[in-house]
């Protein structure tokens, strides 16, 4: 896993969630998005760990949001896919669809 162009399953989930959330992808939102779509309870620690790993691989990057408009509001790290990340995501999903072509499965296509 996580070698070369391949990304791990959970890494793929996180990247896909970032893609879905477009501009609103911060820690807990990513967790929630994955939980909603998979129906599994996701640990926040796992999300952050994965984000850190993706960042290290330069597949995602973050910017700081403006502080939230509440008293004591903080800046959040908003994650986005880097060009490398987009390429890797496209690559992984394409490979998966190709691998599944002709099987009696009906995978929900991402995006």
């Amino acid at each position: 896993m996580a070698k070369g162009d391949f990304v791990g399953e959970f890494e793929l989930y996180v990247m896909l969630a970032i893609a879905h959330l477009a501009g609103e992808a911060y820690g807990i939102a990513i967790r929630r998005a994955i939980e909603e779509r998979t129906g599994r309870e996701i640990a926040i620690g796992a999300v952050y760990a994965t984000l850190a790993r993706l960042e290290e691989k330069r597949l995602v990057r973050f910017s700081l949001s403006r502080p939230q408009p509440v008293p004591g509001g903080r800046a959040r790290k908003i994650y986005a896919l880097s060009p490398d990340g987009k390429r890797a995501l496209r690559h992984s999903t394409t490979m998966m669809t190709r691998m599944m072509a002709g099987l009696a499965l009906d995978p929900a296509r991402p995006e």
């Binding site: 820690g27 807990i28 640990a43 620690g45 952050y48 760990a49 700081l64």
Partner: protein, 905 residues
Amino acid sequence: MRPPRFARWCLRAIAPADERHEVLADLDDEFARRAAAGGPAGARAWYRRQARASVGPFAARRLAALSPAAASRGLAGDVRSALRALRAAPRFSVAVVAMLAIGIGCHTVVYAVVDALVLRPLPFGDRSARLITVHGTHPTLAQDWNDSGISYPDLIDLRRESASLEGLEAAIDRNVSISTGRDTERVLAASVTPGLLPMLGVSPAIGRGFEAADAAEPGFEQVVLLGHALWQSLLGGRADVIGTRVLMNGRPLTVVGVMPQGFNFPDGQQLWLPYRGSETDGRANRGLLAIGLLRDGVALGPGLQDLQAVAARLAARHPDTNRDWSLYAFPIRDYFVNGADVEQLLAAVSLLLLAACANVAGLVIARGVARHRELAVRAALGAPRGRLVRLIVAESALLAFAGGVIGLLVAQWGIRALVAWIPEPPPYWATPELDVRVAGFALLVTGGVALLSGLLPALRLSRVRGTGALSGTRLAGATAHRRLQQALVVGQVAMSLVLLVGAVLLGRSATQLFDADPGFDRHPIFSARFYMAGDRYDPIDARAQAVADVVRRVEAIPGVAAATATGSIPSDDGGEAIRIVVPGAGAGADALLGGQAVPVSPGFWRALDLRLVAGRTFTASEFSDGNAPVAIVNRRLADRLWPGADAVDREIVLDTDAGRLPLRIVGVAPDLVYEEFSEETPQSRLNLYVPYARAGWRTQSLLVRTTVSPGTISTAVRDAVRAVDPGFAVYDALTMDDRRAFNHWGDRFMGRTFWSFAIAAMLLACVGAYALSSYAVERRRREVGVRLAIGATRADVVRLFTGAGGRLALIGIGLGLPAAAGVARRLQGELFRTSAWAPDLWVAVPSALLVAVIAASYLPARRAAGTDPAITLREEGSGLGSQPRVSGSHKCVNEASATWPHTDL
């Protein structure tokens, strides 16, 4: 409704610092949502599950961050950004690297010397720490261990009766003349007991060492061990050298071995002869340097006690030769090295390095202040404090590393220059060099420098969190930064004071040593020694005749006013220790008084351009008569024995090993200095001059008073000595001025080195004060503008900043004074005719330092006073683009200044 406390605590503890806040806040949000939607119990359970499931991944990441790979990745990043930052500030970088290179370089040079002399094990393997030298002590003897030996019969008894020694061997200096073609060369040799080399664990590189038989045969020595250098120069390094015969002191000796390269035991010897002792030798003939090897596990203290117990038994057994004689012993290293000097040097150079570190730390802070925006941005972007610390320390480490590398080059050059410059060769086993040990230590020092000069500022500067850092003009924590900078300047001033006081004391002492009066005008005097080798000179008459001939021939040299031969050169050598009987002092028993006897030729005082105080000098017949019962005392001895009375024609009685020896005083001589200056002893001040033949030494010293420059007659003197006998070797030929310089080069070296360190430290302190003052001026520009605008004079402004510098200097001086006093107290004992508490010193040095620091703060202050308040204030009003800061009053000042007539300011 709050999330479960323990779970939250766990998460807080384990989450990485830069995510901790966000994670906890997100979970709190979600917890509140769930609690509102599904009730607190479900929300709590959910929170606990989240915590449980998250601890693992968080912990794994933190562990991974600790792994060396991750650390080095982080480090590489830090180093990269540090390099970028330093390239952007070349002047700063060069200044810091230069300062550190000099600091580390000097430190390494001194450490190399300390390492060679004190720290490195002696070249005797595991025995190095157990080797001691053993010396005879007597109440009338000065405690000058280099001159106090033991006798051969005592050595044999000690060997037999001491339980604490594994071995006890001996060496005694010998002069050997070797003919090399036309020239006769004097070589320093030693007669050694056959067991010495095995005890030291040293064996010859070629051939064999001495055997008991070599030392036992009657008559002259038959065999010789050559030093490596002599083997090369004399025999061309031939491999088949064993069995070769070489002519030494006119007799052929058989070479039995060649010692390994570098072996010059004990002190510069180039060849070794077997010592032929006999138990019937005189027990009072205490000329041997005894070298002992303590048994494994026996410490010096108990070993010495054991030796002294044996000495007490010997004194009881042989009262006529050993009464009152005891023994003293110490590690062999102390016989060769005065560790105190090098330790002082190391302390001084460490202070200098510390001052350099303080200075660099000050610069790093000043630079950090200038970079506070960058640091604040990094902090705002979530860089944890540790990361900022690492960044700043990485910069300092890079600078220190560069300083260390260049410092090593400086050190390599410095060590080479030092070794080439030292006029006196160090002990053969102690050549300072830049080896792995020294380089390793330099590396360690460099690391320390990086930490000292980087960590303190880094801890200080990294406290940039808070909104003020980004939004304001004033740096958050600026006061604290300033405090630290001030403290650094104070510390530098204190260190400078300590070094300056040490430098003045050692410098004054060295000057005194160079200028001290030996009792005669030394400037026109040339001196040399010669050695009369050969069987021909066994009869005392032959030696006396040769000495007289040499003096006559030397006096015939053009440009020579007078010449003489003597046993001891004043202000360089001591005389021979004697015991003078003071009759009737006390209850019946005669007291003994220690003194020194000096054999002289009749023309001694004329050659030194001196006149006897009373009486006459020796006659020619007394000069060559070994039994002439005459002597001349110096004035101090005369005053001591016959205060207020005429000493001439009185009798003085010596307590010799052969019994009482009465001598008639024929003259009283003016006082001269014997032993080197600063090494005088009570005994060396009481001199008894005897005719040459009474001592009959084969080594004589020539003192030649010239009417020309004394250095120019060196060759003529050599020729004159050789004309008497081509087998006489002339050595140690120096003008008396050069002799003084040679004897006290160490003192001058210490004085000069301390001076250069002290000046460097003072300059550093001034640079620090200058930087701090510049920074204060920069920071308070607006204030200065306002002050000038409302009527302050330039002098007021200058006073404002120089006053601040002066205050720091005073605090530094106040803190440094006790330390300087401690240094002065420690140095006092080794100062020559210099008081550590001279009032002028304690006024002048602090004043000079104060003036220097004030002057350094004055330069930026003058610049501040010269600024145009209108320009300053206008700049302030518009120069901070990012923040709209023009308040009402500010604008008011701005407008007022706009109408100010610039030219008048």
